[in-house]
Every structure is written in C-alpha cells, then in structure tokens.
C-alpha cells in the first residue's frame, strides 16, 4: 500500500492501492483500479470524480466531530464500492451524495455508524441520484447505525431516479445490540462490556483492511 499525503486541493490518482492523508477539503479525480483507505479525525469534505472504466474500493473511517459533506460522481462503465465508518462524538450531520451521470455502473454504498458518547446525535442523509438518459446502472445503499447507549442516530436513505432503466435499492437498520448474540457471547464467559466491544468491532470492521482495523479498534474499545 502506498502512503500518500495530499496537500493540493485537486489531485489525480491512477491505478493503485493508497493509504491517504490530507489536511483540508480535497477533490480527487480517479481513474483505473483503485483502493483508497483513509482515517480522518479532521472531517475534511470530500469530492470524488470517478472516470470511465474504473473500479474504486473506498475504505473511509471518520472520527466525527463536525459536519461533513461527501460528493461522489460516477461516469460510465465503472464499479464503486464504498465502506464508510462513522464514529460520532457530539452533534453532527453527514451529507453524502452519489451522482450517477453515465451508464453501466455498479455502485454499492455501505455505511456503518455508531455514537461513541451517551449524549451524541448523528444525522446522515445519503442520496443516490441517477440522472436521465442513462441506462443499466445498479445502485445499492446499505446503511446501518448501532446505538450502544442512550444516544440518537437518524439515517435518511434517498434514491432519486430519473430514468426507467436502473435497478436501485436501499436498506437501513438502526438498533442496539442483537440480544441473541450478546447472550451467546455471555454464555461463553464474556462479561457485558467485553461482549459489546466484540459486537461493535464485528459491526464496524467486517471487510475493512488491516491497516485501518488497528486504528479503529483502539477507538472502539472506548465507548460509553
């Protein structure tokens, strides 16, 4: 994996596997086969433009402490897989727009969110837009929030479709820990906090690269 520090506002990346760092609002033009991993504590807004015939896997982890905007633009014949993880502290709002302006794309938007603090509030508005005069696009929004305490998460899954040649789905679940899983882990001798920590890790880290897992685990261990 290439560690990349981006200091310019606009950057173009081609085929590769990148662990990226940057310090302010950034725009990325991406082309080719790319995997981008990023661990963010500064909550920089993000714009991505995915070129034709590209394949992007996005693993972005945010320790949220302010509002955030993410805009993704997809052109033609491309595959976009996102894995967004939000560990929220405070009262914050995230707006995600996925704009499909071309044809023959597959987009899988996966998002997992938790509140780290008891009094936190998180609102997520995720909007997938498929513009008119496009065809053969597939869009799936898979958005999940887990509330380990008495905090609040609101997720609005929106799909705006302007063509009849598209397959678009969204699913949202928000809830607390699965009681059957908790009971199972406790019958193996784990205490309540340990069992919940493992379930949080399970919720957040499935399919996340090892480099990011280590950083997230340290955060996950400390929840109220």
């Amino acid at each position: 994996m290439n560690k990349l520090i981006l200091e310019e506002d606009n950057n173009k990346l081609t085929t590769g596997n990148y662990l990226i760092e940057y310090y302010h609002h950034i725009s990325l033009d991406l082309e080719g086969e790319l995997t981008l991993s990023h661990y963010d504590t500064k909550n920089n807004n993000l714009n991505i433009n995915l070129a034709d015939n590209s394949n992007l896997n996005l693993f972005y982890v945010y320790i949220l402490n302010k509002d955030l905007n993410i805009d993704l633009k997809v052109n033609n014949n491309s595959i976009l897989n996102t894995n967004f993880i939000f560990l929220n502290t405070g009262n914050n709002k995230v707006i995600i727009n996925i704009n499909t302006i071309g044809s023959n794309n597959k987009e899988n938007i996966k998002l997992r969110a938790i509140n780290k603090n008891k009094d936190s509030k998180l609102e997520i508005i995720c909007t997938g837009i498929v513009t008119k005069n496009t065809c053969d696009n597939e869009l799936l929004e898979d958005l999940k929030g887990l509330i380990p305490n008495n905090s609040s998460i609101k997720i609005s899954p929106n799909i705006e479709v302007n063509t009849n040649e598209v397959m678009a789905n969204h699913l949202v679940t928000i809830g607390s820990f699965d009681q059957s899983s908790l009971f199972y882990l406790k019958t193996k001798g784990l205490d309540d906090y340990m069992a919940k920590s493992l379930l949080l890790k399970s919720f957040l880290l499935s399919n996340i690269p090892a480099e990011l897992q280590e950083k997230i685990q340290a955060e996950v261990i400390e929840f109220e």
Binding site: Q179, S180, F183, T187, G189, L199, K201, L205
Partner: protein
Amino acid sequence: MLKITNLNVQASDKTILNDFNLTINDGEIHVIMGPNGAGKSTICKAIFNHPDYTINGNITYNNHNLVGTTPTDISRLGIFLLNQNPIEIEGITNAELIRNALSAKTGKPIDIFEFNKKLNEVCDIIKLPKSFVHRDINFNMSGGEKKKNELLSLFMLEPSFIMLDEIDSGLDIDALKVVGQALSKYYAMYKPSMLIITHHPDLLKYFPDYQVHILKDGHIISSGDKSLVNKIETSGFEANVISRSKQNE
C-alpha cells in the same frame, strides 16, 4: 452437582416449565426427551438465566445459586451450552472469542504458544480443518460445521457441566459420528456432568450409561434407565407415560 427444585419458568405470561425438578450428580449423564413444545430447550436457557424468562424456584450448581446470576458468571462456574442452531457472528473469529473467554475465566493473559498448540490438538480430535480457528463464529458454515465449530469452544474451555440441546438435529450420519465420538472422548477425558436433550437415540450410543426423563407439559412425568429410550422409540412417548402411570398406581 446441579440441583433444580420447584422450577417454574414463564415467558410472556405463558408458563413453560411447571414444578420441574432434576438432580444431576457429578459425572452423571441425564437425557431429557419429550414431544415438541414440552419445554425441553427452555431448561437449558433457564439454567443460564436467559433474560427473556421469568424464573421462580431453585437452581444450584455446586452450591452456587444460579437464579439471578448473570450468564457470564454461570459460564465461569464451568457450565457450557451447545445448542441446535448456534448463532452466526460475522467479524469475530473463533480464536478471538476463545482467547477472550479463557482470559476472562482465568484472569490471566493467554500464553499464545500454548493456546495455538491446544487449538491444533483439538482440531485434530474433532476433525475440524485448522483454518476454522480463524473463521468468523459459525458464519457461512453448514449445520454440521457449526456443531463441530462449537465443539472447538467446548474442548478449549473445558467445562464441567455440559448441556446439549438437540445438537443431533440436522446432522448427517458422518457428522453425527464425528460429534458423538468427540463428545464421548471429552466425557472420557474430563468426566463432566451432562444434560442431553434429544428426540433421537442415535447420539446416545456414544455414552456408556445415562438416565432418561420424559418431559411433558413443563415437568418430568417419567424417569428410567437407558432402556427407556428403546421403549420410547418403539411405542412413543404417550404409551410410555401411560404405562408408567399405571405402574405407579
């Protein structure tokens, strides 16, 4: 010794176990059979103080009162539940679960070398590919694989009291043989007490001796030695209950 006296268990205002009594001495194997809906699986969950149940009565294990005790503490007393449909948890590996459970039980950090060595030995005993150690808990496994996977935890945690809740359901002949032989070996190695809940006698042939109880309407209506299993298989639960009732009269 596990001792259950005057146990009443309710869920959502429905009585499931009613005046249930059972004593299992150290090293004894007891089998509970009975028609569907008799409350067999509830016994195991009640022993583990499942939060969905309202439990009245007494359950003690080696003089520890289990009613009101957390599932965590009940597990740490050496009680283990292996049920018919083990839950799947994506994102937590078997090794991770067992390592945490062992560390919590002993209160000491785990010696990774010894831990891995024992995991490998157990995989050989239960004929489980070693790659399963690093797979997520029961995730994307077949019914037979899940049962074997649970045996991995059993052998690693070395409980002194084991509850098997219809673990033979859904197993093909080969898988049943592997599970039966593994449990038989565990019994020979550690002499645990066992409570086996089953509909079928096939699993029982792996154990030398046991007592059998028939559960109906939430309590035991008939008990006997292992020969009772053959009678049940031949003539069903109802015939045996009637026959026993007449003997008692």
